[in-house]
Amino acid sequence: MSLIMEYIKIKIKDYFSYRFTLFLFLVMDIFWIFFSVFPFLIIYSATNGFPNWSIYELFFFTITGFFTASLIYTFAITPGFDIPEKVKDGTFDLILLKPVNIFYHIFVQSLNFKNFFPDFFLYLIILIILYPIIGITFSWISLLYFLLIILISCLIFLGISGIFIAVSCFIPHLDEVVELFFSFRDMNSKPIDIYKNKIIITLLTFIFPFALWNYYPASILMGKIDTQVLPSLVITAAAFLAIGFFSVKHGLKHYKSAGG
């Protein structure tokens, strides 16, 4: 644990040594937020908008998605991008040679704070500002559920990361498979309740679970969905983690070190 903390300290120090870059990232993030909510503003100015979603609720939904994404990209999904690249260029062997637990090593060396500073704090501030505007009465229990769903989505994507790593041991050029999987993320840029189709909603909750980035945490905090969904999400997280863990083990057995 102390090794992880030491590693995190070094990485954070590294990021803060380039303050102007951090400032540029902040400007880009603000611009990105504006760009993401601008289409909603135009649609709401011309129509009544989305059923059961006020414009501020939609902002909250969007920022929740960015907030969760900043955590997922920092702690969960990066190994799924990094390791397949290392398998492809042959540098994965260097990781396997180290006398450290392979899962521990993969996790620690893939921590990516580029998506944490300043994104996480910026989105957190915006969520705190928006919270009273959307008119929800504060409750510790709904905040707890909100955080729990974000944790669940991090665990699910850690499992997915494992699946990517395992597949890369069989198919070295994984880029397009990953792109194919992430295509489904676009479907969650709007609340999934607009789809009015149970198959699509189930697909986006349990198979391509991007709805856990924004729809479920935001909706549970706003009281739009019931807490009955939580057990099934916990089971999904456990299933993805188990599949990820065992597929990495299986993939490593078949790893042929055939990269560059």
């Binding site: 540029l24 880009m28 611009f31 990105w32 760009f35 601008f38 289409p39 135009i42 649609i43 100015s45 011309a46 129509t47 009544n48 908008g49 989305f50 059923p51 397009e176 792109e179 194919l180 295509s183 489904f184 676009d186 479907m187 840029s189 709007k190 607009i194 789809y195 009015k196 189709n197 699509i200």
Partner: protein, 265 residues
């Protein structure tokens, strides 16, 4: 001219190699179809009006479906290509070729877009027609609209080419400049939603923006919303903008290559 066609053919052949990209692109289109099919049904259903800012629900959905069907044609990677050429020094070999640097890339882009047109348009029209009630508003309008999209490709290409010249001086700005350019283009070309949805004050401004003629105008032709005079006028304006951006490119490109130090070489 022979060299130009040779580049087109070569790019077309190369595009046929990446078969998996076809599946990724098709899946991307289907996802876009699903989003817009349900999204606009929800918006129109909740609003209650049959016509919003001149478009019916079915027309708005078809507007969005048609964008997805044709989008691959307009797409260009020139900004990234110029950045890589400058950064890695491969521009040196490209400057030796018997064709202008920008035209080389235009030919490659045309070759790739032609492959996309051949491989993706018909399957995506069939999928959209079967599952999402996509329909043509007349074969004439459809064909004219496809022609207009090829003009859009050139317009989009020369806009991007001009922006990419920034790489010659400031290579580290690639991501920031590309991001701002894409945001501006996506919103003001009508790719996210029809420009009719913008407040009235914007409508006058859009007539003078080149981005309007990249997506919005060709799709309005497909919907049969433009008169014959407006269609002819739109082609003239597209051509005017293409010439305008090409002239700007020639002006700056000459000066930039003279002062180019070839760091990557």
């Amino acid at each position: 001219m022979n060299y130009f066609f040779a580049f087109i053919v070569q790019a077309f052949k190369e595009a046929t190699k990446s078969r998996f990209s076809f599946f990724v692109n098709m899946l991307g289109k289907i996802i876009f179809f699903i989003i817009n099919f349900y999204l606009w049904q929800a918006i129109f259903g909740y609003d209650g009006r049959e016509v919003i800012n001149g478009l019916r629900m079915e027309e708005t959905i078809n507007y969005m479906l048609f964008i997805s069907i044709m989008n691959g044609i307009v797409h260009t990677h020139i900004h990234g290509k110029v950045m890589m050429d400058v950064k890695e020094g491969t521009i040196a070999t490209k400057l030796l070729k018997p064709l202008d640097y920008g035209l080389q890339h235009l030919a490659i882009n045309l070759g790739k877009s032609s492959f996309v047109a051949f491989s993706e348009i018909i399957p995506s029209i069939i999928i959209a027609a079967i599952f999402f009630n996509f329909r043509l508003y007349g074969l004439f309008y459809f064909l004219i609209s496809v022609a207009s999209f090829f003009f859009s490709l050139m317009l989009n290409f020369f806009i991007d080419l001009n922006v990419s010249l920034v790489n010659f001086k400031f290579i580290d700005t690639y991501h920031a400049v590309g991001f701002i350019k894409n945001v501006f283009k996506n919103i003001f070309s009508g790719e996210f939603f029809p420009l009719n949805f913008f407040p009235q004050v914007f409508q006058g401004i859009f007539k003078f923006l080149p981005t309007t003629y990249m997506i919005y105008t060709p799709v309005m032709i497909y919907l049969g919303k433009l008169s014959a005079t407006d269609i002819i006028l739109s082609f003239i304006i597209q051509s005017g903008f293409i010439l305008f951006f090409y002239s700007i490119y020639k002006f700056f490109y000459g000066r930039l290559t003279r002062s180019f130090e070839g760091v990557g070489v």
